[in-house]
Symmetry: C2
């Protein structure tokens, strides 16, 4: 009996070793197991991460006065309390405007690991991405000079920018976005899956390991790979068109490619797909099989993949809610009703 | 020289002692100097404050899914990052609706010390107050059964309610509001002014002490008294009508009385007055003198009072941003565009 158990354990361990190898061969990569390595991996060499920049970036991320109304912050649509998104099929912004293309807000958690930002991948990194929604009419609707006017009007912000970038810093719109991006680069959520890939063979249960194997064997890793399990531009509807393609007018980039969303914390980021028309994970998994791989996934296979996906739920960074500087008469006035 | 300095110090100390006595005679009261005493003072005997209730209440305070749209939380209009309010003259809520009476969002910080809640004082305590904006059409617009449906759909919430109130707890709408209120009762901000009233005679500068004396001598404490320096129902426009009374249709309660706002953290809660038509503190101070006391405050007197008011800026509690439970298919669907 003892021998049998030992033998089963040995077999399981061997299988786990093979699975880790298979996962790596399929292009999957772990978030590193230690903080220093994560910092190195996520820091922008052109704008290195420092504690001051992160703190300042966090303040700006939660700062509603960067929007023309004074009501909407980055966190409104990428709410760090609910998976870094808003739970909506299409984002709602300034003056309650729906996203004109019917697009949902992608999660900001682990977005640092994407090769491209936005659903059409039009932005190469978070620094540029952060400039978009602040200005976009249906989102925060704030002109660049409004944003710099707000930040420069409050001495506490000016001092923090000086501390972060040096006494002679010019607080430009781009600098504001850069700083938000530095904060976003810290929004990384290591999971049991990462522990597994990093060598802890017991970090995933047998069921979850089986799910990972199904995930690889069925071909999901063709698009969902690397650290983000997503983040590259890929054809969408390879074998058959997405059943809700007619909701919204989004057709991908100029070549019809769509930025693959991360699968990390996928349990928290429903509704799914670019237009948020899929409510549940099983439905999303089956639809992906149908339109991308040309296969019909059985209920059992779907459940197996789902059990793996749930193991991607990660540990969120602790975020102390920032206390923001006080507006003063020189702070540009918000315009709520008539922008 | 030494004797002169000692004599000046002695005189200043004596003056401070007299001023503290005068302040107490005028009805001013400090936030107690120790945490235990604050907890005792702010806890509701019918629903005593516990750590679990505070944590749960914080989650619900930041919970956008309590609103019909899934976008608006208590924190949207009572933003703890910017003085517990929204910086707007009139609140904006569900579907970008302005407050129909042109009323601004009062700060939630130190609201526990009010005798009445809402501008017309229609609610006796935070437990009842919290029920209002969640349901109000222009605010969060959520029917009671929607709210209980949301909370009961997520096992993490159910478990926390059980931990907070016992295994057999019924998660009613009223219980949700009660729990939010428990969190709000912790939003207390002790200041240097409190240290001064509690006996630290050096906690306020000579200028600030002079400001406090002016504040008392001119009669401001007639309405701005007790711990909140506000929070009771008082006549508004005693001597002359408020110059912006025509903005919005608010006329106070049935007897024309208006709930006096707290002066704590007043630097952070502009624009001022119930309809947010006064942009700066000096203007607010002078208008109060004119319409409530029938006096014309000089620039010097106004600056003196302002210097005291600035000493009411308090120390905010540290708030770790909550990570909220995950929605699931049984969670009532949010309705953004067509409520």
């Amino acid at each position: 009996m003892k021998l049998l158990i030992l033998s089963v354990v040995a077999t399981t361990t061997m299988m786990a070793t093979t699975l880790i190898d298979d996962a790596k061969t399929a292009g999957l990569k772990a978030i590193p197991g230690n903080t220093k390595a994560i910092e190195k991996l996520t820091s922008n060499p052109n704008n290195p991460t420092t504690a001051t920049k992160v703190e300042l970036g966090k303040m700006l991320y939660f700062e509603p006065r960067l929007s023309k109304s004074g009501l909407i912050s980055c966190n409104t649509c990428h709410n760090l309390a609910i998976g870094g998104t808003d739970g909506m099929s299409a984002a709602i912004g300034h003056k309650w405007t729906s996203n004109p293309h019917g697009l949902s807000s992608p999660t900001v958690y682990n977005a640092v690991f994407y090769n491209q930002q936005f659903w059409d991948g039009r932005s190469p990194h978070l620094e540029e991405q952060a400039q978009g929604p602040i200005q976009a009419g249906p989102e925060m609707a704030a002109p660049k000079d409004f944003v710099t006017g707000v930040v420069n009007s409050m001495p506490e912000y000016v001092k923090m920018f000086q501390k972060a970038y040096g006494k002679n810093v010019q607080i430009t719109f781009e600098k504001v976005a850069d700083t938000i991006a530095v904060f976003e680069r810290t929004l990384v959520t290591p999971s049991r899956y990462d522990n597994f890939l990093n060598g802890n063979k017991k970090a995933l249960s047998a069921t979850e390991q089986k799910g990972l194997k199904t995930f690889i064997d069925k071909g999901c890793t063709t698009c969902h790979n690397d650290i983000a399990l997503g983040g590259t531009m890929q054809p969408f509807g390879v074998v058959a068109p997405y059943k809700h393609m007619n909701v919204g007018d989004f057709k991908g980039d100029a070549n019809g490619l769509v930025r693959v969303p991360t699968l990390r914390n996928i349990t928290e980021t429903a509704p799914y797909f670019h237009n948020g028309q899929i409510a549940t994970l099983p439905e999303a998994i089956k639809e992906m099989g149908r339109i991308q791989l040309g296969i019909t996934l059985t209920d059992e296979e779907t459940a197996s993949i789902e059990s793996f996906l749930k193991a991607l739920d990660g540990k969120k960074p602790v975020i102390v809610y920032p206390m923001l500087p006080t507006s003063n008469p020189s702070t540009p006035k918000v315009d709520v009703v008539n922008p």
